[in-house]
Symmetry: C2
Subunit: 419 residues, 2 copies
């Protein structure tokens, strides 16, 4: 069974000058992976005729499937459609069902009359050599072309439009078209150990892996994910992955957080829901980011009650009841302050668990005693409080993210100990 | 003056299976743009010998500068260094200053003895045909190669290591090496008007732009950025951009938020700081995300006092003093509730301004009356409160982001009216 390969071409000047981050490609890659299609090449080009043309040429030599996003807007800088039309030797014609759909969207969804007729009508024109894939949530349709046994699919770059098209049209279509080999993954998350220590610990395991299984190290925020990937016949792949994964878990068991590819906030949410427990946060330096991570999980209202972001010391005192004396003597970034913040938030939110955090994220605000990156964390309940000091050494946003991830990891460990 | 072009090659399986989002490339593109280098091609490949090799071949035909990130870790899946060594016809040799630096990092920064000697020593090996660029904050050095007049620079994929190398070594070096033409940008942000309406409004302006100026539409979160980009001789470029940008601002003045390429949170921060005013948020459905956006700006402690994330109704009642009757009769997602939340947070945080928000982000929790995406916003001070209802129709995270951006935009408009 041959591997089915895909390339992703993203089109748009905004990607090349760095004005936007491409979150489409990772999502598309994950989805394709799930159906056994291996994305082995990704290209970003600007809104330039020649660059788009060359990318189509090059990727068609490389992959069975070429997915193209972007450059389908109604404005003059978007030229993907005319390029595709010329490349596949067609001419633009009005696609009546799309025109009706665009009109419908304007009247019933956007709730305004369809104005500027010419420009919006153009959204309904398609090359006569393509198969139209209806875009339920936007005006630019998906377009499928075939050439020399390759499949080309063009989609809008707007993330939710692309995702809707992928789920409803593209993935089912590709699944039907290609008999792809199975790709299996097993991922686990470790904490408290660096990449090179981990590598040393499992080097014999890694060396003994069969050829069709690959091991990858994915360090992120001071934690390392280990991922086994195998390609082949489903039964063999899954059996062997199960066997190897079991060994791997045993080897790293002292550092294992979870043997699934989920985030800490999902893991914590699941634990709290199962135990019918609740949590709250008292955040100074993270400014609400921990609460944001927790509430990014659907259903988090079942276990998350709220947060006090006490950026200003007056809020620490008046709402969280941190003692003025504490702030005067040991300061806002101290073990005693996060303890008092924790007790305060447990008291006013009446939750089973809480997190409290105070630190200096930079670039300003550091002192010789407490340089930028100094963070005090507390987690606990009404019986126990545990605290920990961190010293990060990065830029503001990364310090905020690292603090939040470490706070969640600290809470996870605390909850585990309670059961 | 010829355009100086660059390609970015990112290496790593984790990028291709979608496990991580590439934030390096946008940042690198921005930095290169600033020194007049035009990134016109970006490629992502896996940790595969042949794919890396081909990418080097292809991009060297395309660009003057080829920047390469990733695949330099101490583990076996990272093969960038041996590929580069072979590609440029060198052999790996121990680089003594790097070895000393790696040892120093372990002893003094990571604060643990340098273990696993072989693996970490290897980090200090480099091809004898490269110029080493010292990585001050990590173990994998930058490496510079020259071939057929092209510059190749390999850097680690860890974002802060790459950024440090770019700022201290790569950008100064490229600036010296290349006499690049000037690239100028002017960006403005609009709100309250769609991309196609905007395009119609400025179509004559767009058609009359000189050849060397390009106009781009960058829609994001229901707001549209317009960007003019010009390349050429600095004095001509800047003069013409000034002239055209003035015209453009006049044309869109009814929808203009700001005539700079900054975020709403930076803009609001600047306004509050200038006026010596403070702000707080009371957040239900956004779960702290608005507070996070505000506090992601350095120096925000000057004007942001804090937030109450009142996810649970008990928090709305007990801390923000929302009336039980209000919650019972019109519900948590209502104009009256956000009004009371706003008054509550103004009162307990004692700020000049505040934002309050309550809504249903999905996927669950919608009702026929209040479907998923229903959001009530309030902004105001002790004298005035303004409210607004939104109906978003996206997935959870996008709904949260859209709500937050619209809340900031609403606050911005409110502050403007006060002055």
């Amino acid at each position: 069974m041959e591997k089915i390969t895909a390339s992703i071409i993203t089109i748009g000047d905004e990607l090349l000058i760095g004005q936007v981050v491409d979150t489409n490609s990772p999502w598309m890659s994950q989805q394709l992976n799930n159906i056994g299609v291996w994305v082995h090449h990704r290209v970003a080009v600007g809104d330039m005729w020649e660059d788009i043309w060359n990318a189509l040429d090059e990727e068609s030599k490389r992959s069975n499937i070429i997915l193209i996003t972007g450059g389908l807007g109604p404005t003059a800088d978007d030229i993907t459609k005319p390029v595709l039309c010329k490349y596949f030797g067609g001419k633009l014609v009005m696609h009546q069902p799309t025109l009706e759909h665009v009109t419908y969207l304007f009247e019933h969804i956007f709730k305004r009359p369809m104005p500027l007729l010419e420009r919006n009508r153009k959204q309904a024109e398609v090359p006569d050599v393509c198969t139209v894939l209806k875009n339920e949530v936007g005006t630019a349709p998906g377009m499928l072309f075939e050439k020399d046994g390759r499949i080309f699919i063009s989609m809008p770059g707007v993330p939710y439009e692309m995702r809707s098209l992928m789920k409803d049209k593209v993935l089912p279509l590709l699944k039907e078209k290609f008999q792809s080999p199975h790709i299996g993954h097993r991922t686990l998350l470790t904490a408290g150990i660096g990449e090179s220590f981990l590598a040393e610990m499992i080097k014999d395991f890694e060396a003994a892996l069969p050829d069709f299984i690959k091991l990858a190290y994915l360090p992120n925020y001071g934690m390392v994910r280990l991922r086994l990937t195998a390609t082949g016949k489903q039964s063999i792949v899954e059996n062997e992955l199960d066997k190897q994964f079991k060994q791997l878990k045993e080897l790293v068991k002292d550092y294992l957080v979870i043997d699934e590819d989920i985030t800490l906030q999902v893991l914590i949410g699941r634990m709290l829901k199962d135990k019918h427990k609740t949590v709250a946060t008292a955040e100074s330096c993270t400014g609400g980011y921990i609460a944001h991570l927790i509430t990014s999980v659907p259903g988090s209202s079942n276990y998350f009650k709220g947060s006090v972001v006490s950026y200003d010391n007056s809020i620490k005192k008046n709402i969280l009841k941190v003692k003025d004396e504490t702030l005067q003597t040991v300061g806002a970034v101290s073990e005693e302050t996060v303890r008092e913040m924790l007790r305060g938030v447990l008291n006013i939110m009446q939750t089973d668990y809480a997190i409290a955090v105070s630190g200096i994220m930079g670039p300003d605000g550091g002192t010789p005693d407490k340089p930028v990156g100094t963070v005090w964390l507390a987690v606990g309940n009404n019986e126990n409080i545990e605290t920990k000091k961190f010293q990060f050494r990065f830029e503001r946003l990364r310090n905020i993210e690292l603090t939040a991830i470490n706070a969640l990891n600290f809470l996870h460990a605390f909850i585990l100990k309670q059961s």
